[in-house]
Amino acid sequence: MSSGENRDEEREAKERRRIKSGEAMRDLMTKYYMEAKAAEGTDKHIAWITSGGPVEPLIAFDVIPVYPENHGAMCGAAHMNVELCEVAESRGFSRDLCSYARGDIGSAITKGGPIGGLPRPTFLVCCNNICNTVFKWYEELARFFDVPLFIFDTPFVRGGLPSHHLDYTRRQMEEYISFLERITSREYDEAHFVEVAAKSLYASGLWAEVLACNQARPAPMTCFDAFILMAPIVTLRGTQEVVDFYQGLLQEMRDRVEQGIGILPSEKYRLLWDNIPVWYEMRNLGRLFMELEACLVADTYTSAWTFQEVDTEDPLEAMAAIYTEVYLNINLERMADKIESLARRYEVDGMVMHSNRSCKPYSLGQYDLAKEFTRRTGKPTLIIEADHTDSRWYNRAEVEGRIRDFVENLL
């Protein structure tokens, strides 16, 4: 066989393995960002919102939601976040602050980044279920843009969800609705809200099914693909386009499983990933894991947007409960339960944890979780040091060396 034929075969195999829905997602996200940017300066309302925040009321009130964290990930992946961080640092923001926040503040000042910055917000919505960094960051944004800030406060949960937590978050959902009525001069339409919430839940259910396809061997995608493919569920859940997109993606994943198409040329090991991606290093790390025949089949991050079925009798209370009990807002034992369950369902051989210096609630406790994981599953863990979008803290040679050692020693 000639080398030309060889290359053709390789190209074909690669094409077969490629996830086709990626294009539909890029189109969806491009259209979304173009519309959001075009709305700047018009009478349309634009709200910046945290990734774990309740977006459904915004969709129901016809407000365009914009996600600085998603934008941060984009800036990180485009290797543009460091220069934005430096802008914030030159204004006195410490290098020890979250790099999403620094990059976002930098981008607000300079309109820098791959899409020329985000459209100016008319108001801000911040939910601290993912961390307490966000409300400090959003306070700064509120001062910078001089716009109203709504804080949806979700107190930390240890064990079960106590009723006074739910009372508090339920009342804030009502307050949130009144806040939106005031800002948009529209009335709350519960039927419409229920419709949006139902779409959101439905899309999140589809997303859960997409992720579950990775229980198959070989896995049809890696969690690095999921990190990209989750953009619509994070930003636009509650809309019909998102439901359509995930229906298409789920079909593709099911087809792949049926036809035995794995994402890697060869899958020898299956691994679990913990924490936010190292956005600027996805390509290199993806290549490395592929070379090591190790597939990252599941992660603790993308499943944060898979909500459980809820009672729609009281949609506001249902939403309040969902947003309070997310992965980062619960105690270590409950996190360990979730990790263990992922490990068993996806039959992993070990876990790679990204100790992310930008994210304390995700990273502090990882050493104890790693030990607990090994105790419960008998599988090893590797902890690598990085930062989700500030590459100045990353030592490629060291991290790659440790990953190699880890995978080569898997049984």
Binding site: D96, N132, R143, P361
Partner: protein, 377 residues
């Protein structure tokens, strides 16, 4: 006892409170640790415990690195290190108040890796001072009381709790007087001594501290004012684990005339209402007191208060003294500094502290340069 000697003892405790804490058990006390100024100490006090505050220690970390990353503040790291090294075995337990992400995770890590009999958690809302969060906080305080009672195996009587609230309110009134005295008659009581007397209260039964403050105030208020021309400054930040900052400023002829510290002014701000139910009184106090930057009241509350404090105290400069990696404080630095500069023309200096690599020499150099700038040398 002579007031000078009392101040000297307080300073000694501030430098190293641990030998004294280690003796507490033998003296019949039941020390329970707390970290955060939002702890409802009155409940512990009424239960018969002596709440003692852990504010870290200058030390090399040997045990905590297996549980906490290096980008976590040195308060959490050194406190955990002492616990894991068995140096805090005199404690009956600890109380974790969820102020920041680090404390929230530290509670679980501490509970999983130590074996103190008592472990308490109190979750705070971040929205303080708004009607919507008050019922939540009242319920949290009630549950915290329930948790302590469950551990004790008996209930805490309302009158005992009311008495503890009274004792703590008296303490706050005297702390107010102490600060007023320091500000208005700095010659009678210097910043280092005043702060040492306040901080020492973290490591003794509150009644004893009330006696101590009473004694100091009587002497200082009656005493003659010495004329002292020192450069007035305000210190803002979290806690000063050691008196070094204050000692250095005194050496460099500066005087701390007021503070915005969580081991200072923020600790004793606001009273608990003695005419309502004890849980509501405690919750309301936490809810309306001056905010920690890890809590939200409105966008400008910290700046407004800081500017007012600087104006009232006549401070000529502000020293921000923070723990490295402390996000809530670090986020506020740029806007606080801008407003100080633009509205009052007040210069400021940011110092970060890491207890595991503490350098007094470096601190001195930076303070000296800052003071020279203000003095126009």
């Amino acid at each position: 006892m002579d007031a000078r000697m009392t101040v000297e003892e307080c300073l000694e405790m501030w430098r190293n409170p641990y030998p004294r804490l280690a003796r507490m058990r033998e003296e019949g006390e039941r020390p329970v640790a707390f970290f955060c100024s939002y702890t409802p100490e009155e409940i512990l006090h009424a239960a018969g415990f002596t709440p003692v505050r852990l504010m870290g220690a200058v030390r090399t970390i040997t045990h905590a690195d297996a549980h906490l990353q290096a980008y976590c503040c040195s308060l959490a790291r050194t406190d955990l290190d002492m616990a894991l090294a068995g140096e805090l075995d005199f404690l009956e337990g600890a109380v974790f108040v969820q102020t920041c992400d680090t404390m929230m995770r530290l509670s679980d890590i501490w509970r999983r890796n130590t074996s103190f009999p008592f472990h308490g958690d109190l979750v705070l809302p971040i929205r303080m001072g708004e009607e919507i969060s008050l019922p939540f906080l009242v319920e949290e305080v009630r549950r915290f009381r329930g948790r302590v009672e469950e551990y004790l195996g008996r209930s805490i009587r309302d009158d005992a709790l009311e008495e503890s609230i009274h004792v703590y309110n008296r303490n706050r009134r005297m702390a107010d007087r102490l600060y007023l005295l320091r500000r208005e008659r700095p010659g009678a009581l210097d910043g280092l001594s005043a702060t040492a007397c306040l901080v020492a209260g973290f490591w003794m039964r509150r009644e004893k501290h009330n006696d101590l403050l009473h004694h100091i105030l009587e002497e200082a208020e009656a005493g003659k004012e010495k004329a002292a021309e020192k450069l007035p400054l305000l210190v803002s930040g979290s806690v000063c684990a050691t008196p070094d900052l204050y000692e250095l400023l005194a050496e460099l002829d500066a005087e701390v005339v007021d503070d915005d510290l969580c081991c200072g002014h923020r600790y004793f701000d606001a009273f608990a209402d003695e005419n309502i139910s004890p849980e509501e009184a405690l919750a309301r106090r936490l809810w309306q007191r001056v905010n920690c930057p890890a809590k939200h009241q409105c966008l400008e509350d910290r700046a407004e208060r800081l500017l007012r404090q600087v104006g009232d105290s006549g401070a000529k400069g502000v020293v921000f003294f923070l723990q490295s990696f402390c996000e809530p404080h670090l986020f506020d630095i740029p806007y606080l500094r801008n407003r100080l500069r633009e509205e009052l023309g007040i210069p400021s200096l940011v110092l970060e502290s890491e207890l595991q690599s503490f350098s007094r020499g470096q601190l001195r150099t930076r303070l000296q340069a800052f003071l020279e700038t203000i003095r126009g040398v």
